[in-house]
Symmetry: C2
Subunit: 205 residues, 2 copies
């Protein structure tokens, strides 16, 4: 077996890791992935995350019956008993995903258009404002009010309403609880109306 830049191997193997912790992987059939960035990972038949792995830039030495991966103070030794399949990917893409419509993006929009969303002149605006109940997505203090905003990238549900209430309790002082998102369920809207929670409609694009 030659040490190509990358390979996919399905093999009868076992593994031992020593580094930040120490672990053993019992013998069995696993998928071993070696990537072009020098990372290596061992996947079992369940879970998104690999059983064992070593990050990019790992020094990987491949012998007939084992693979030894070294990196700083970490070492992964894979003992190979039998190779059931080995494939060398051709022109494997390294494209990243292009992501959008995150909660952060909505908060950006709220900040950019703060003067239209909130009454008074903005005195302080802060994201991830810390409370004992966790961080509030957006904290806005204006000349007339203080707003605590929970933003959701999807339709606002009752859950978001309860969440902002928790933050209100933790905040303690007088403020206007808000939920912001591109839509809101009937139940949530009803709850907002009868509990003085302000719904802010904010859309992507």
């Amino acid at each position: 077996m030659k040490n190509s830049e990358s390979f996919l191997m399905f093999a009868d193997c076992s593994a031992v890791y020593d580094g930040r912790a120490r672990s053993t992987l019992a013998r069995g059939n696993y998928l071993i992935i070696k990537k072009t960035d020098g990372s290596i990972s061992i996947h079992g038949s369940t879970l998104i995350t690999p059983r064992n792995y070593m990050g990019a830039g790992t020094n990987i030495v491949i012998a007939p019956d084992n693979i030894i991966a070294n990196r700083k103070s970490e070492k992964l030794i894979i003992t190979i008993y039998d190779i059931l399949e080995c494939y060398y990917p051709y022109d494997w893409s390294d494209s990243k995903i292009e992501i959008s419509r995150t909660e952060a993006e909505l908060v950006d929009k709220l900040i950019a258009g703060a003067s239209t969303y909130f009454d008074g002149t903005i005195e302080l605006i802060e994201r991830e404002y810390r409370t004992d109940a966790g961080p509030i997505d957006l904290f806005v203090k204006t000349s007339t009010n203080t707003y605590l905003v929970e933003a959701k990238r999807a339709r606002i549900t009752l859950n978001a309403c309860y969440q902002i209430r928790r933050y209100m309790d933790a905040y303690g002082l007088d403020a206007i609880p808000c939920v912001a998102g591109p839509g809101i369920s009937d139940n949530a809207k009803k709850h907002c109306d009868s509990n003085s929670i302000l719904y802010i409609s904010v859309d992507f694009d």
Copy 2:
């Protein structure tokens, strides 16, 4: 192509995800892994983590030229232009790693040998003791003292010393700050000596 329980596919494809965020993956050659727990992931030629993924229990429908994965309010659509390789793993193991030398293990040892590590008779011993600064690894109250212990599986560094100091501030009452681990750096030891932090040497095995 039949919908086996699991498969490894290297294919010319693209993907769109909509759920907790929204993302697109540009067309290219990627590794698609479908596992026996109903999870699916798309890997590029770099990084340990997949480009796209859907967790265990996803409803996956496979057609000749696409794969559609649904789960609660998430959807992943993989458009397949060409299958370069497809492999159906035989007897793919689902063994988990057996891990040791974790921080928790060190705390176990501290608890088991508490009477040798701490002065006085043990009155209360509690792990993950909650403070405003976060949970303290180990809280020990004896007839003579109260100990706050920060445990590290690796050599104690200055960082751990500062961490236990933060916990001391949050705790407020009189107590002896401790760092416990299998070793300690010279700098950290010096810091402990001059700041009345107790270093507890505790080894694995």
